[in-house]
């Protein structure tokens, strides 16, 4: 692999990692500042897709571009891509599962609320 291609791969990967760092900081501040559980679900989604999926793809590109890692860098790039895909599928599934369970079991308070469309669809009961 020529040197220019390595530099291009590393540069694109570093741009993706910087995007991931920004999303990560935003998600952590949201996780600390948002008022209740159902608003913090948004923070988990930002932190898992923007903060973990995008920098994992970036890390895969960096690992593919680094010549000093030896021939095992292709193993590392493939492992990072597999981790990214698994994380992209499982984070959304886990978030939906725990949100549904907590809403049905009334395990978290729903205090600062604007509208509850799900309760209206089910017959207009108030919580």
């Amino acid at each position: 692999m020529s040197s220019l291609v390595s530099w291009i791969l590393v540069g694109v990967g570093q741009a993706l990692v910087i995007i991931g760092i920004f999303c990560d900081l935003a998600a952590s501040i949201m996780m600390l500042r948002l008022p209740n559980f159902f608003a913090r679900l948004h923070a988990l989604t930002v932190g898992s897709v923007g903060g973990a999926f995008i920098p994992l793809i970036g890390a895969a590109l960096i690992a593919a571009g680094c010549d000093f890692l030896g021939p095992y860098r292709w193993f590392m790039a493939g492992g990072a891509v597999v981790t990214a895909i698994i994380e992209y599928v499982l984070a959304g599934a886990g978030t939906h599962a725990i949100a549904r369970a907590v809403y049905r079991a009334k395990a978290a308070p729903l205090k600062p609320i604007v509208a509850d469309k799900l309760a209206e669809d089910r017959g207009g009961e108030e919580r």
């Binding site: 530099w7 193993f75 994380e87 725990i98």
Partner: protein, 94 residues
């Protein structure tokens, strides 16, 4: 400029931001008022830790340490599902 020093310096300078994010997640995990908040914080912490472990593997020049991130992501999802089943239905096998 050498490629190895460039990549190493980039990863070293990106570390304090990750540390700040981890500290805020741990603060939420410690003071969360209900149990689902703590589960959420531990989830987000582990997903970001997986990305951080891959970058750390590049920093250490150890490509053989990549499957740790896959295993961590998979089993934290399992923790999420257990808590959901506890709150919703009761037994896990039903």
């Amino acid at each position: 400029m050498n490629l190895a020093t460039w990549v190493t310096d980039f990863i070293v300078f990106s570390m304090p931001f990750y540390f700040a994010a981890f500290a805020l997640y741990i603060a939420r995990a410690i003071k969360g008022p209900t149990v689902p908040d703590m589960v959420l914080a531990v989830d987000a912490l582990s997903y970001d830790l997986a990305a951080f472990l891959v970058l750390l593997g590049i920093l250490f020049r150890a490509p053989i340490m990549i499957p740790c991130a896959i295993v961590l992501v998979l089993w934290v999802y399992a923790l999420d599902i257990y808590m959901a089943k506890y709150f919703e239905a009761g037994e896990i096998g039903e």
